[in-house]
């Protein structure tokens, strides 16, 4: 059974139809990359899978482990194991990273009928996972993302991912704004977390990330649809020829 199945998904905001019949299937153990021009709907897709209510779904459905989750609330999907690493993580004044993670971890555990983590286990887990993305301990007592540099915010997203160990992780341009070293650290983090039971969807503009995290599939999203899918070579080809090549190609295919 596939982990995620997006069927003919159509979503709009206000009067803007952004997703126009999108299909995507992700199986456990796979890494998918989604590329595509600015404004094509990549972040929208991630938000809609996560359940953001601002969007109206006016066609299609989303299945997670075979269950239709199209009408579930955001936190219910998160509790089932869907994680979104944000393109623009928000700041939460006065709430420490540690406290935020504690609420998060325990909310998810509670939903699964598990006991909350003891303070000792929680701290041990924080220590282990922050080492994975080389985040300094002092970050934990600072307010969530407040005053973090762009790169630090992205690293923090991957730290949270490591803490929560979701089944499906959607990474929205986590590589943007990272320097070379940070990119390596983040990629290593993701590679460590990869296993046959979870899956990653990487939204990115740069083939560079895919040198570190090698995808099984690459998709091109343009104008609210997946217009082309392929293996990891597709990313290289895109880098060389640009998106117009795919768009023209797609039109040819459609008219043919």
């Amino acid at each position: 059974m596939s982990l995620l199945k997006v069927e003919n998904l159509q979503a709009k905001i206000e009067d803007n139809q952004i997703l126009k019949g999108l299909n995507l299937e992700v199986n456990p153990g796979e890494v998918h990359a989604i590329m595509g021009p600015n404004g094509s709907g990549k972040s929208t897709l991630a938000s809609v899978i996560a359940g953001r209510e601002d969007y109206e779904i006016n066609g299609g459905r989303i299945l997670f482990e075979g269950e239709d989750i199209t009408d579930l609330e955001v936190h219910e999907r998160a509790q089932k194991g869907i994680f979104l690493a944000f393109q623009y993580p928000v700041e939460i004044p006065g709430v420490s990273n540690a406290n935020f993670m504690k609420s998060s971890v325990n909310a998810i555990r509670e939903a699964r009928g598990e006991e909350p983590l003891s303070a000792k286990d929680f701290l041990a887990r924080m220590r282990e996972k922050s080492a994975l993305v080389e985040i300094d301990k002092s970050f934990m007592s600072r307010a969530v993302n407040e005053g973090f540099s762009g790169g630090e915010k992205k690293r923090n997203e991957i730290f949270q991912l490591a803490m929560l160990e979701p089944k499906l992780a959607l990474l929205d341009e986590t590589d943007s704004g990272l320097d070379i070293d940070a990119l390596k650290i983040v990629s290593q983090g993701v590679n460590t977390l990869r296993n046959e039971n979870n899956a990653f969807v990487l939204i990115t503009h740069y083939q560079r990330l895919l040198n570190y995290i090698v995808p099984d599939f690459v998709h091109v999203l343009a104008d609210g649809k997946i217009v082309k899918s392929g293996g990891k070579e597709l990313a290289l080809e895109l880098e060389e020829k640009g998106y117009d090549w795919v768009k023209d190609h797609a039109i040819e295919e459609q008219t043919a």
């Binding site: 609330e73 998160a78 993580p89």
Partner: protein
């Protein structure tokens, strides 16, 4: 300990309605409804007060007759009929007893429901507690230990009899009977409250705490609290309050006076959780309180911290009169209003001595159709050379039907003083809520986290045990206010 409390927290956030809204079947003794000189005499006689106290009350009563309800606050409520209120209600078997076995078992059950069983308090927290139900002080724990250090912590009614010299000297010295309408009323009819005296050089080794609870219907509660910190002493004082749910409005008009002598420091913390009325604005407590501290001596310090979540109408301005040179006044406040609650609260800092400093941190949170106002006055008199004030007033709005207002008044009488004022208004952002829910938190959990983060600077000022209670209360008061 922290873990245990935080688990409880989550559990309790899932039950939204006013949790303290039970009444207790204790036999009550009432004075007849309404107010006249005979009622004042009745109260004084009931308490077996010395003559001076009765005279004091009568003077206050006569002055009150000449006064009118103040109407300047940004709150809106029907005129109160002061003749339709009971001014005295007391648990009938007055438990002035030494052993808990002798206390009315119903009353003990009440304390258990409040989560403050005296026994527990004694064993676990080392907090000395005076509990006032309706108007009568029931039990003061730890009296003996405190006595050994010379600390007096007892019901006001006892202080009047046992320490008349102190009472005569200090009662009304900070809030005169003529100060305002409600202070005058309180002076005439107060039936109990706590009295606290810390002798020279003594650092009070435990938190002193009073728990107020209204129980009888249609009663007004008028406590009177007096705290005196003699030279070089220190005390931290906590006050908590709850009331049962009732359809009709209950009146609460307390007066708190604090005197800090040279080098003394008093920390006064309140968690106010009177019944706020139901979702449609029916019922709830009218909370009209006068709290004032006098920094009498040099280098003295008074610090007010308040978490206000209850009452249908709150009207209070804990203030400091900074008379001694180099004295410090502080006010830290979180005020939450939801549904149809109205709060008009803030602080007044009057600088008289040289190099006096004051700090006001106010965090208002409004939800539902509530109205939340900050009203503050920083008054720097001519002789208060080099005085400093810093004020920060933040408002947080949840939803778009509530209101937040700020009325900062500043009067500066000399040129060497500096006053800084900052104010912000913000909304709980959709983006933050989405972020939290994407991390698995439901709405209540997310709200709790966000609100406690917003109010952190104030919550951090509370003693540990109270901070946990306060966080819990904030979350409960705002339950169901988004979406």
């Amino acid at each position: 300990m922290t873990d245990f409390n935080e688990d409880k927290l989550i559990e309790e956030v899932t039950t939204s309605d006013y949790k303290y809204g039970f009444t207790t079947d204790i036999e009550q003794e009432f004075a007849p409804k309404g107010l006249n000189e005979d009622i004042v005499r009745f109260i004084s006689a009931k308490k077996e007060e010395p003559e001076f106290m009765l005279e004091w009350r009568l003077k206050a009563y006569r002055h009150w007759l000449t006064m009118k309800d103040p109407m300047w606050a940004k709150v809106d409520f029907p005129k109160i009929d002061y003749q339709d209120v009971y001014y005295y209600a007391a648990p009938k078997k007055k438990p002035q007893l030494d052993s808990l076995d002798e206390v009315d078992p119903e009353l003990l059950k009440t304390f258990e429901k409040l989560g403050i069983s005296i026994d527990e308090q004694k064993r676990l927290t080392g907090v000395a507690v005076d509990i006032v139900v309706d108007s009568v002080s029931v039990k003061t724990t730890f009296q003996k230990q405190l006595k050994e250090m010379g600390v007096i912590f007892c019901p006001m009614s006892e202080a009047v009899k046992e320490h008349p010299e102190l009472v005569k000297q200090y009662l009304g010295s900070v809030v005169p009977t003529t100060d305002n309408f409600y202070a005058a009323l309180n002076s005439a009819v107060f039936s109990d409250g706590s009295f606290c005296y810390i002798p020279k050089g003594v650092r009070c080794p435990m938190e002193l705490s009073t728990y107020f609870r209204m129980n009888a219907a249609l009663t007004g509660q008028f406590e009177r609290t007096l705290i005196i910190a003699d030279e070089g002493s220190y005390v931290s004082y906590l006050e908590g309050c709850t009331a049962p749910m009732r359809d009709e409005n209950q009146l609460h008009a307390a007066v708190v006076e604090i005197v800090a002598h040279k080098d003394a420091e008093v920390k006064y913390s309140t968690v106010q959780n009177w019944y706020p009325g139901d979702k449609n604005g029916k019922g709830g407590v009218y909370n009209f309180v006068t709290k004032r501290g006098l920094c009498e001596g040099e280098n003295s310090k008074i610090s007010w911290t308040q978490v206000e979540t209850g009452s249908s109408i709150t009207w209070k301005y804990p203030s400091c009169v900074l008379k001694g040179d180099n004295s410090i006044g502080e006010f830290y406040s979180v005020a939450v209003t939801n549904n149809f609650q109205q709060a008009d609260t803030g602080s007044k800092m009057t600088h008289i001595g040289k190099n006096t400093r004051s700090r006001i941190i106010s965090k208002g949170i409004s939800a539902g159709r509530s109205e939340n106002s900050y009203r503050g006055l920083v008054n720097i008199t001519k002789n208060a050379k080099n005085a400093r004030n810093f004020s920060e007033c933040d408002s947080l709005l949840i939803g778009d039907k509530c209101g937040a207002h700020t009325f900062p008044y500043i009067e500066i009488g000399n040129s060497s003083s500096v006053v800084e004022h900052e104010a912000t208004t913000s909304k709980v952002s959709e983006d933050i809520l989405f972020y939290c829910s994407q991390r698995g938190m439901d709405e209540a959990q997310a709200m709790e986290l966000i609100i406690n983060g917003y109010a952190k600077e104030v919550l951090n000022k509370l003693p540990m045990e109270f901070a946990v209670e306060a966080q819990k209360l904030l979350a409960i008061s705002l339950e169901g206010s988004v979406g």
